[in-house]
């Protein structure tokens, strides 16, 4: 059994935080970009985590928030000449409103129905944006203005912007998990009917959860749009990303606060290795990876490490999940 006591954990945590804070000063552009991407994945995974990991609603269409956020920033900056930060602010609002509206419509559905209906929503939105060529550039995409400054400096700027969102969203999630909202979501996931008769307004809490996750995801989308300066509906609403996020949650542990970050590091790390060596097999390896992970460590890597890596544990886990 591997457990870290409080002091050690806190020290490591602070050390990691400081390391991230000074990272751009000691690393090259390539690594800064890589870590920024890891932060992005972690934020997106956390956004999904709140509705899926904590509340138990597998939102396969969660990229709808990413796309809405990204396009809000894109359209505001290109068509209305609004600067980045106000646009980002609006994209956050868009994220929350989308969460509320979509939530009111879809959160009454359960299980698979919810998962795929949310995917349908994302696909429908993708198609709509594909067709609003005048506004969004349609399938050919939208090009945003670039941030002023030298490429290396811009790179570092985006590192810190993404890092800030990471810290804020994770802190908010931590705070939420220790309050009534967090417990309500856990109760809903465990047994929604019981939660209901116990005095938990399940509809309200579910909508709040999805909107919070939507907020993080939309803001991330807005930052991504300005960072990459080019967005198109196909990538902004891509379902394969959500599957990747589920794998990240599986790796790091869903329903936990830090899980998305651990998972993102592990996943993107493996991705980098595979990409650089086995480029043409990349997706195929992702497929195998998904299968292996679900088979052997469905509770997440952290949980498996904590319980101890043993053949017995693996066998027990499989036994719990098999027919």
């Amino acid at each position: 059994m591997v457990t870290l006591n409080r002091k050690v954990y806190t020290t490591l945590f602070i050390a990691a935080f400081l390391a991230c804070a000074v990272f751009p000063y000691i690393a090259s552009g390539f690594w800064i970009r890589l870590v920024t991407l890891i932060f992005l994945s972690a934020i997106l995974a956390q956004g999904l985590n709140i509705i899926a990991g904590f509340t138990g609603y597998a939102a396969f269409g969660n990229m709808i928030f990413f796309g809405m956020g990204g396009y809000t920033v894109g359209v505001l900056m290109t068509k209305v000449q609004v600067s980045f930060l106000p646009s980002l602010f609006v994209s956050g609002i868009v994220g929350i409103v989308t969460g509320i509206l979509l939530g009111m419509l879809l959160l009454r559905l359960k299980g698979h129905y919810f998962a795929l209906a949310s995917l349908g929503a994302a696909e429908a939105m993708r198609q709509i944006l594909d067709n609003l060529t005048g506004l969004t550039g349609g399938a050919m995409g939208l090009t945003l203005p670039q941030m002023a400054g030298k490429p290396a400096q811009v790179n570092t700027n985006f590192y810190y912007i993404m890092f800030s969102l990471l810290v804020l969203s994770f802190a908010a999630t931590y705070w939420m998990s220790r309050r009534r909202l967090g417990y309500a979501l856990k109760a809903i996931k465990a047994n929604e009917e019981s939660a209901d008769v116990m005095g938990i307004n399940t509809t309200l809490y579910k909508i709040v959860a999805w909107s919070i996750g939507g907020l993080y995801t939309a803001l991330a989308g807005g930052i991504y749009a300005y960072w990459f300066t080019f967005i198109e509906p196909a990538t902004m609403f891509d379902v394969v990303v959500v599957v990747k996020l589920f794998v990240i949650l599986l790796l790091g542990g869903s329903g936990t606060v830090m899980g998305p970050l651990y998972g993102a590091f592990i996943f993107e790390g493996i991705s980098e290795i595979v990409w650089s060596r086995f480029l043409h097999l990349h997706l195929g390896i992702l497929g195998i990876l998904i299968i292996l992970i679900i088979f052997f460590i469905p509770n997440g890597l952290i949980d498996t490490v904590r319980r101890g890596f043993s053949l017995k544990n693996i066998r027990d886990t499989i036994r719990e999940q098999r027919v």
């Binding site: 109760a187 019981s194 938990i200 307004n201």
Partner: protein
Amino acid sequence: MNKEPILTGQHVSKYFGALRAVDNVDVEVYAGEILGIIGPNGAGKTTLLSMINGTLPITKGKIFFRGQEISGMRPYRIAELGISRTFQIVKPFPGMTALENVTLGALFGRNRERDMSRAMERAAETLKRVRIEGKEYVLVEKLNVSERKRLELARALTQNPDLLLLDEVMAGLNTREIEDIMALIQEVNRAGTTLMVIEHVMKAIMGISSRIVVLHHGQKIAEGTPAEISENRQVISAYLGEKYSRGMQET
């Protein structure tokens, strides 16, 4: 017992298409009493309970709790007004310990604790009340039937309800466990909680109820004290058949 009922159901009905699961039932529950609900399987007992706590929407009729109309309210709102219930097939929160299950009960509802540690304390006390000692940190999946039933009861109790609805809480228990839970129910009642209890175990329900309501095919066919009910021909007929009750007349 007070004169005014704390719960009133007027012409309460639940139709599933052509099926009248509950048909025009009037019911009153007085503060401080234990009202027993009996009837053959399929009589509509659980359906009636589910309409009271909001799990099932009411088709016709109205239900009032303390003068306020609660028919049509969502379950969580009714819980916040002071009505708690247990389920026939228990619905604990899987993957959590007994203490965690009950703590969640203490964190929500009308008397919710603001503070996590106080919620846990209250939960621990409630667990003691239902005599689950030493198993607070055991996962619910590992508890036996009797313990799970008492856990479900604890989760409802920890919210200090004014009205507690119990749905066949004795199902699956052996004689000893039934006696224990009967005593527990009476303790809860003495401490001030009004109860509506659905039960099949005749000796138990007759023993603890102050009044009894009998349902059959969705309708109320009798109401009265346990003594009155046990001699009511219609009730006997419903449970044991026409012939038996006719036969009884001759004795």
